[in-house]
Amino acid sequence: MTAAPAFPRTAAELGLAEQFHASLGAADSPARAEAFRRFESAGLPTRRVESWHYTDLRIALAIAAPLAAAPDEAAIAAAKDRLAKLPRLAPARIVLVNGVFVAALSDRPPAGVALAQPPASPTLPADDPMLALTLALAPAGIAAAVAPGAKPPPIEIVHCFAGEGPRAVYSRFAIDIGADASAAFIERFVGAGAETQRHASTVIDVAAGGALAHVAAIEDEPGLHVESEVVRLAERAALDAFGFVAGGALVRRQIFARIVGKDARIGLAGLGLLDGSRHADTTLEVVHAAPHGSSREFYRHIVADVATGVFQGKVIVQPGAQKTDGAMKSQAILLSPEATMNAKPELEIFADDVVCGHGATIGALDPEQLFYLQARGLPQAEAEAMLLEAFGAEAIGRVADSALAEALLTVMRDWLARRGRGRLS
């Protein structure tokens, strides 16, 4: 059999097509139509697609939930109540409810930052069916542009879901860092429940000499969370991005980064705390298309119960990207015999004068360390929590903003304490 397998459309794929044609009107927007066509030609990714090998959405996404409605007054009021209880992690807050920017819930952006609609058809250095689907179905969204040379205080973007029952929420957000500007953005995902299917996209563009610190945190429990970050770094640009996954039944975070200017630097890091039957997949593709670039990837996972973690990191050094300096590390601790971690670091190097390396470790807690702590009087659960906290804290240490790092540490400590209590019961 040499013919390509022709899969029949799944119920979810048919549902998505119906939603696209009914709600947004393909005729109105050629860019959306083109995005949807790209999604349709690929279909929901299966394990036959290399970059989706460990997360088969054709199986996992059985039914496409109805699109969440644009927020009405009631939804905005509900979001307002929720946000009032959400401690701020940055001085300025921008709010999207069900993917729609809500000025009434947002602060005025700080000086040097302007909000606008993102371009309808961004030219993206990434081709992924789920990213295409998000661009096809998401409301217009919002873009934050930091003026050249500006250094505004940190801004948090709160992606709030408001609604009942099974709903799909799509969102588009974009960050443009002007030349020599420097900024910090925290994207927070809140309000979703087991029946929520979330598709989020963030397009990041850092101009020459610009610097961005970016943190994304899943703070709720969506049934599905698919998040795509698309990054483009110009000459001397720098990005430090951190992904914090402590919630969600099925999570896929994918980052497509492209270094197009020389002397650019990218640091990607993250921490996954996976318990129960969660499945969380972080997949990276970092392309060095210019010389003298540096990339660092540092991901840690703590996987308990019957949860599954996935880390796929691919660093591509294109011809001419000489003097590239790359190092990738993925480390995981498994806390139960049924916990699974799939780690696949890859290097594709087409330049001859580069320094690139990668390493991956997967293991249990060190019994020698555990015994040492217990011999000093720490009960087993406390000894484990101490070692796990140290393990996770080293990843969180990549977050430069100390108040933000402290907030993430608190979430981790709560998670560890819950685990400890659960184990004793």
């Binding site: 020698e368 702590l373 217990q374 011999a375 009960p379 406390e382 080293e394």
Partner: protein
């Protein structure tokens, strides 16, 4: 204080302890000497409760209570302290954080309230001073990058803070220069008292010049084969362990 009766233990199917009997009186410092491979470290691990060892027979009584079925932390709360031959490095855990957690965990297990931070700082500072432990060391991750001498001083610092009833010192002299040996020995001697006992495991007599034992036991092939006063250590120093290499069989 400590009564070990007919203790046999193995690791991965290899029998190491073979019907060992040992009594350490309250307030006594007992030295255990023996050739390499005689089971000295295994004895210390079995007393402390290391999970790798399988106890195949016997009892370890601490003040009359058999502690063999207890978790290591429960034994610690009852007053057992093992000073490790090779203290374990714990990356990412600041020494101070560790010390406070262990001290309070033991206090909680005994129904005492946690120490307040100022109280804790006071006791740590005074203990650290006595053992010439640099305050900078306390900020570093536990044992990570510590020299051999620093690690051993940290063990004794922990023992000082936790004030156990039974201190088991496993080759505490290994890897120490003369100055460090004196500091560590002074630290141990300061803890000697009528209510506290020590089991001092060592291969060499050298440590016993600084920590004078009340009794000396010779261990070979998993048992105590001879017991005597401090003069026994001197005899071993002169003759070596050759007299004991076959005797235990």
């Amino acid at each position: 204080m400590l009564e070990i009766k007919n203790l046999s233990a193995s690791i991965k199917g290899n029998a190491i302890l073979d019907g060992l009997n040992l009594t350490v009186k309250t307030g006594e410092v007992a030295a255990i000497m023996g050739p390499n491979g005689s089971g000295k470290s295994t004895l210390s691990y079995v007393i402390a409760g290391k999970p790798d060892y399988e106890v195949t027979s016997g009892e370890v009584l601490l003040n009359g209570e058999n502690i063999l079925g207890l978790a290591p932390d429960v034994r610690a709360a009852k007053g057992v302290f093992l000073a490790f031959q090779y203290p374990i490095e714990i990356p990412g855990v600041a020494t101070m954080t560790f010390l406070k957690a262990t001290l309070n965990a033991q206090r909680r297990a005994r129904g005492q309230a946690d120490l307040t931070t100022p109280e804790f700082m006071r006791v740590v500072r005074s203990a650290a001073q006595g053992l010439k432990v640099d305050p900078d060391m306390l900020k570093r991750p536990l044992n990570v990058g510590f020299s051999g001498g620093e690690k051993k001083r940290m063990e004794i610092l922990q023992m000082t803070l936790l004030a156990p009833r039974l201190g088991v010192l496993d080759e505490t002299d290994s890897g120490l220069d003369i100055d460090a040996l004196r500091i560590v020995s002074d630290g141990v001697n300061a803890l000697r008292g009528p209510d506290r006992s020590f089991v001092v495991i060592t291969h060499y007599q050298r440590l016993l010049e600084h920590i004078t034992p009340d009794v000396v036991h010779v261990m070979a092939r998993g048992r105590i084969v001879k017991s005597g006063g401090p003069e026994l250590a001197l005899e071993l120093e002169r003759n070596g362990y050759r007299d004991y290499s076959t005797e235990a069989a």
